[in-house]
């Protein structure tokens, strides 16, 4: 404890040389180290009744801990796991969790509080000084170690026989390569997989919520519809991986509101389909502002203008959302007219 934490009036006014003092009050130097201040007795050191009181407090804390542990066991055995309890001001909590946590917490905390109170009031609080020794070895030790090392190195003949040294270094340098090769089968090579999705010419657009193929008239103005390719099922082995690329969002715009020429060309009666996967780091975009036709990614707030080729108008995304070219098949259902022409999702080195 340094003296600057203690209010000045609490410090002893007169200072003699105390026990364990290292500096000596110096007439010539008022800034000299006066040495350790004298030990101040606590009430427990001089009054046995106060000490007895501290003892009782510590014992009480340990006893409360024991009771809390019994409370823990009782709660564990008696409280049904699905019971909930209202605790002001927190609200409804799982009764089991609340009871177990509280009893365990009290049982542990009281052990700690008891130990700390014991240390602070009853154990000696006299400050003692311990010497430090330099970390560095003495010159003799240093010389001895250097000499020993040279002796050892000499006896190994490594310096005299470079052939051994060089081949050993070569062997040690090569051997980790095996480990590197062993990592190869962690995964397949990317190849072209990031460029392709399940979408292909003739695949119907299936409504994600109803699992029914979509007709243009199902898409209302101002609504955001999510779609996946026909044939993909939640129970499929690769469903997660496929939907991570193929997820689609569909909106209906007024054809004359579409500013981008290609967008208009790839749309059907104002219905446009864009990849739902953000081109920033791949979050699914899900916030649609129907007045402005802006969509916002809730992860990092990249904002795209769906009426203008889904170009980025704000946020950290680097390029527009890929559009899927759509039309209707003979039965009047919306269908894809091919795969996305560029990779969906975040950019990567090979994307180009």
């Amino acid at each position: 404890m340094s003296s600057q934490d203690i209010p000045e009036e609490n410090l002893p006014a007169e200072q003699g040389t105390a026990h364990g003092a290292v500096g000596v009050a110096d007439e010539k130097n008022p800034f000299a180290d006066p040495g350790l201040p004298p030990h101040e007795h606590r009430i427990q050191d001089i009054d046995e009744r106060a000490a007895k009181r501290s003892e009782r407090v510590v014992a009480l804390l340990f006893t409360v801990s024991m009771l809390a542990t019994i409370g823990f066991i009782v709660s564990y055995v008696t409280i049904p796991n699905d019971k909930s309890v209202y605790v002001f001001p927190i609200g409804h909590l799982s009764a089991m969790n609340f009871a177990l946590g509280l009893t365990l917490g009290v049982a542990l905390f009281c052990i700690g509080a008891g130990a700390v109170h014991w240390a602070r009031t009853l154990m000696s609080d006299a400050e003692v000084a311990d010497e430090r020794h330099p970390i560095e070895a003495s010159p003799e030790v240093r010389a001895k170690v250097h000499a020993d090392f040279k002796q050892g190195a000499k006896e190994s003949v490594i310096g005299r026989r470079p052939l051994i040294r060089n081949t050993m270094l070569g062997a040690l340098a090569l051997v980790p390569l095996s480990g590197l090769f062993l990592l190869r089968d962690l995964g397949p090579l990317p190849k072209e997989t990031l460029r392709h999705t399940l979408w292909a010419k003739g695949k119907r657009l299936v409504n994600m919520n109803t699992n029914q193929p979509l007709r243009p008239e199902d898409v209302a103005v101002g609504s955001l519809t999510f779609a996946m390719p026909d044939g993909l099922k939640e129970t499929d082995e690769e469903f997660q991986t496929e939907i991570a690329k193929a997820a689609l969002m569909i909106v209906r715009l007024q054809p004359d509101n579409i500013k981008d020429k290609r967008e208009l060309e790839w749309s059907h009666e104002g219905v446009v389909a864009y990849s739902k996967i953000c081109t920033h780091v791949g979050c699914p975009i899900s916030l649609y502002e129907q007045q402005t036709h802006h969509v916002l990614c809730p992860c990092h707030q990249s904002t795209f203008d769906l009426s203008d080729g889904a170009r980025v108008i704000f946020g950290p995304a680097g390029h527009a959302l890929p559009q899927l070219r759509i039309g209707v098949d003979s039965e009047g259902y919306l269908q894809a007219l091919g795969d996305f022409e560029e990779p969906v999702g975040p950019a990567f080195w090979e994307r180009g």
């Binding site: 003692v128 950290p316 950019a347």
Partner: protein
């Protein structure tokens, strides 16, 4: 050290059982030599020395509760249909990881409590390390001989972040899955090898079927294994170096003043473990954390608003959100600067933290051991660097939560993002300047106090009517404490032209060093501490005023 004869005589006597066991162990493990050095080891007392203990204990709590969780958790991404007791999710498809986490939360009695203790302890562990590092930084406790221990601590902090990240990704819930997707996107941005790293990490395309099992072995074995080793090394070095202390009467660079390990710190530090554990258990009892059942299982095409990582990833999140979306396309390749620059910046900032002790010791050129802590005000430039970094960190935390700021305070998300982009550069500079001024002001106040005493609050009227405030001289302890710090002289390059007019070559690094040294210890960057002469002149010559 004792001979065999004395060993025998010792064991023949009627020693108490404890002593006999200790003798037995000493004969095999040499525990007496160890105990001689450590049993009555002196530790100094200061509230800030407790921060490291919070980290140590929360780490132990995490290991204890983590082992319990592994008994019930299934690190598998096989899809199953939920039939457990949480009604709203019944019949839903989910991974076994998510399913078993629900099982821990609803069916295992006390499972939810252990899960919440585990998660809360992880947050407190990281927060504790953050604050502990600040303590070490601002008081200069990282100086020789403790630079290596700073590195150990730094590694613990970084590994702690990634252990936390892999840990909260394991339940495979919608929120953490979104975080994993973010990580995958960040990996993809790495030039040349990014796509390959991603495919090797996820066993193919995202999300695949492997990452939960892989994160699991990283989270429960690889990272904590390394961390446990580092914690042990960290503690051994703390014991070996002996603890630092603040300047004060009787406290020198060659001693350590405090109370002995046995019994005082055995009780205080041992008791503190229970205090930390107890406090975390109570928090876990009343404060819900990561309710994955309310979030739902992960689907790469679904997301919730307000998606946030745990707080310690907020800096990375802020960087990624504030960065403009730069992309460069050339020769059929894409350089995804918008994601890659934040990634690199994250690494650079971490590296700067790791190397700071070495940079400062190079600037000062000081090769001596330092066991007396600095008061932050007495090293204004270092303190200002630290404060600027913290301010920068908070700017990025705002950036990382820009959506929450927008919804809670009804602000425009665009305005917040632009604020972060500007503040990213401006706020650290302002903080640096302001902090330095404050430190210098505090140094001046200390000087004033030493030379003129403290204001007593007593107003005295002199015979001719003037009112003065009586100043009381400080005690010698206070005088010593306020003047104990060392002040460096800035490094000088010296004349660049020698006496014969020949130009002397000065290397660029020497110039840089002189410049930095001036920034740290130059005329305007520290207040010369009062000298004995000044003090005597004021206290004797003119009397008190």
């Amino acid at each position: 050290m004792s001979t065999t004869a004395s060993n025998e005589s010792r064991s023949r006597g009627k020693a108490p059982a404890g002593e006999k066991i200790a003798d037995w162990a000493d004969g095999r493990l040499g525990i007496y030599s160890l105990a001689k050095a450590n049993m009555r080891k002196i530790f100094p007392d200061h509230w800030s020395f407790m921060l490291g203990e919070v980290c140590l204990y929360s780490f132990l709590i995490i290991i204890l509760t983590g082992v319990y969780l592994t008994l019930f958790f299934h690190p598998s991404m096989n899809e199953v249909v939920y039939h457990g007791s949480y009604v709203p999710l019944q019949g839903q498809l989910m991974s076994e990881a998510f399913n078993s986490t629900l099982h821990i939360s609803f069916e295992v009695r006390g499972g939810l409590l252990i899960r919440q203790i585990h998660h809360w302890a992880a947050l407190i562990f990281l927060a504790g390390m953050f604050v502990h590092m600040m303590r070490v930084f601002f008081t200069g406790a990282f100086r020789k001989p403790r630079e290596v221990n700073w590195l150990f601590g730094f590694l613990l902090f970084v590994l702690g972040m990634f252990t936390g990240f892999t840990g909260y990704s394991l339940p495979d819930d919608l929120l953490s899955g979104t975080g994993v997707r973010f990580m995958e996107g960040a990996i993809l941005s790495v030039p040349i090898i990014g796509t390959y790293i991603s495919y090797f990490l996820f066993g193919g395309e995202f999300p695949g079927h492997d990452f939960v099992a892989r994160f699991y072995s990283i989270h429960i074995l690889l990272l904590p294994g390394i961390m446990l080793g580092l914690v042990v090394g960290h503690l051994i070095l703390v014991f070996y170096h002996k603890h630092t202390q603040f300047a004060g009467p009787g406290k020198t660079n060659n001693n350590v003043v405090g109370m002995p390990l046995l019994p005082v710190y055995m009780a205080k530090a041992g008791g503190f473990f229970f205090l930390v554990f107890g406090a975390i258990a109570v928090i876990a009892a009343i404060a819900q954390i990561n309710p994955i059942w309310a979030i739902g299982p992960y689907r790469p095409d679904q997301v919730s608003t307000g998606a946030q990582p745990d707080w310690y990833m907020g800096m990375a999140e802020g960087l990624i959100r504030a960065m403009p979306g730069w992309e460069i396309n050339f020769w059929g390749h894409t350089l995804v600067l918008g994601v890659f620059i934040p990634l690199v910046l994250f690494g650079v900032v971490l590296a700067a933290i790791a190397l700071y002790p070495f940079i400062e010791s190079w600037v000062t050129g000081d090769k001596r051991e330092h066991h007396i802590l600095d008061r932050p005000r007495n090293v204004p430039t270092r303190t200002a660097f630290g404060a600027a970094w913290i301010a920068w960190y908070f700017v990025l935390l705002i950036g990382g939560g820009n959506d929450l700021w927008a919804t809670h305070f009804h602000l425009s998300i665009n305005a917040i993002t632009w604020f972060v982009r500007v503040a990213f550069f401006v706020v650290p500079v302002i903080t640096f300047v302001v902090t330095k001024r404050i430190c210098l002001g505090l140094q001046r106040r200390d000087k004033e106090k030493v030379l003129h005493g403290r204001e007593s609050g007593i107003i005295k009227r002199l015979p001719h009517g003037e009112f003065i405030e009586v100043h009381e001289p400080l005690s010698q302890e206070q005088l010593y404490t306020l003047t104990a710090h060392q002040q460096y002289e800035p490094v000088e390059i010296g004349p660049t032209v020698d006496e014969n007019g020949v130009e002397r070559k000065v290397s660029g690094t020497a110039k840089l060093r002189a410049k930095l040294s001036k920034a740290y210890y130059g005329e305007d960057n520290q207040i010369p501490k009062p000298t004995v002469e000044e003090y005597k002149e004021i206290t004797s010559g003119h009397g008190h005023h």
